[in-house]
Amino acid sequence: MNIIKYRYIYFGISLIVIVPGIIALILWGLPLGIDFTGGSLLEVQFASGQPPTITNVAALYGEMSTSKVEISNPVVQPVGTDSLSIRSKEMDDVLKSQIVAALKDRFGGGQDVIIMNFTQVSAVIGQEIAVRAAGAVALAALAILLYITYAFRGVQHAFRYGTAAIIAMLHDVLVVIGMEAIIGHFLGWQADSLFLTALLTVIGFSVHDTIVVFDRIRENSNLYRRVGYETIVNHSIVQTLDRSINTQLTVMLTLLALALFGGVSIRHFVVILLVGVFSGTYSSIFNASPILVVWENKEWRNWFHRKPEAGKI
């Protein structure tokens, strides 16, 4: 099995996945939830089983809106058959009780309206979280880069391993964020703090996976000193392939169980994790290690002058 030979094809596949996501990000942006933008999220269940229409709720919010607390034009989404999730600008608890009372009054059908959850975040803190999140990712990347460079200090160009792992990690981050932008646009999903947790998990998993492959390269380069680098890398990938697939399978199986049987509230989270974990394994096999070879051969010198030797079958 020669994976390294077709490295440009695998890079191409990554691009095919990432580019639409980036376009979606540019066109529509990442739909941020109230955790980052500030605002209110009210999820109510109608005991009657018949929630009001979206227009009716929007109209109610419009009535309740004042110049001080501007909550008109809420985003209303049905959850299951009997619940609604309503997102609006920030409101206080008093207004919330008034709204719930009005919902019960007008659309409750004589039965109760139950608050499933209510979240209220001020705009300032939302921004702070977003900034801190970006800082956390950057810090994590830096720490991991340093650790890998340290852990691989025995092999030549230890810094390359750290860099390649970070590039593979960024690949997974882009896949996940891009997909969130696309799904967010069509299904109305919003990136909340759970999404952030998922993203950070993907980062952890991605690096975890990449290190296992790199560890083999580290071991093999010490064992076979006369063999070409390309062969060593390829051999290492093939040797760890069983493990990569099996580990991914078990993680995906547990996540699948969560997605199918877990609560609705974490489904978004789990789907992001599924995509990220898959991407993490893909990038550690098909991106991170081939990047080492590209770097070793300094192939970028040929990129714009001649056709690369590999990449065409």
């Binding site: 001020s122 999140a133 720490a143 975890h208």
Partner: protein, 473 residues
Amino acid sequence: MNRRQYNWLILIIPLIALAIWVDVSKQVTIPDPFNPQTNLIDRNVETRLGLDLRGGLQVLLEADLPADATISSDDLKVTRQILESRANALGVSEVVMQAAPPRRIVAEFPGLQDPEQVIASLQQTGLLEFVDIGSTPVTEGIIIQTDFGTSSTPVTTTETPTTEPTKNSSATPAPTETPAATPTIYHTVLTGAALSAVSVQAASLGGFDIATTFKSEAANIFSDYTGSHINQYMALVLDKRVISSLIIKAKIPDGQGVIQGNFTQDSANTLAVQLRYGSLPVPIKVVQSRSVGPTLGEESVRRSVIAGVIGLLVVVIFMGLYYRLPGVIADVALVTFALICMMLYKLIPVVLTLSGIAGFILSIGMAVDANILIFERLKEELRAGRTLRQAIDLGWKRAWPSIRDSNFSTLITCVILFWFGSAFGASVVKGFALTLALGVGVSLFTAIIVTRTFLHLVLDTIKSTDHPRWFGI
């Protein structure tokens, strides 16, 4: 070599027994052998569920001061204590309040379903002032400026009086918005801090009053003041809003007083609680609140448990089918892993949230991965013609660097996540990081010690080293 492996059993077996004991009990008690009257360990080890699983309210409070104002950690601590006392006095149970320096406090109210009143009460600074109004009375409900807080207060920030009524007040009916045309600054005679006792009593004309007693020193000041200002007006001002304005008829010598302000029983209680525990050294506001209904929580728990069990079962079956005998041993190690994790969650204790459970499930994946790494190496060594015993030791030795490095990088991410989560009270991120980090730590132990010991144990017991089929080769 083998003898050394067996030595681990001395640790592993009691550990599993301890884990099972803790996992099934609600209370762990170990009597002191030397003193039968006392217990060496007496601990409540009930599983702590987070607010998203059991329902309740989480509020993030922030100092309501300009961003450049520094808040001393003592002030924040005192604020937290006062808030906690207030919440407890209002009958909310199991309140958890944590200061998140430099300027925030995270408050959690499990099971609280009607948060409006509690939040309103917490949010009020609760600064009661007895203000010298002069000879013209002021209207009740308006906002006035006083000289208290401008020079000699603990908070040394420039306190610009709000010209807008504070929201969320339950103490008075909707305030009339009177624009302060003449920004008169009135003199504050005494504050609520001078009160020694506060109680709620039924008013003679219906409604409720608050009876107050001044500390002796303050009683003298009050007595002198009332004596020299007869037929002038005095106002009771709460958080800069006038709650009642009265004319001084005579000298009040004994330091007893009554605050009248059209209170209902609830609002009188709330104010009494605020006066009793003092005013906040720092004004606060709500910047984030989340409340989850109990039904959603129950549903989530039930479903997550089912999903977790199914996920664990699928992994157990997969490992057994694919790796045969070692796979079954890994399954035993995996169950050990789950038992130890549960024990740690209960002992530390870790508050389990949805994201925490997700972190646990991910750590199952990492625990399995460590086993897979070892077994793949084991297979390789067997294929290379080594004896089984050699293969186990070599496989383990060769797999170790990758297990170490990959798990260590996960731990790095966990630490950064935990720090990130603590900074703004995001229990979602924090819970995830904590369970994942614990899981990674425990999985290192189970994969390396437990799996290996059991492998050796089983091999010695079956007295056979030539059953390659059992190893999936």
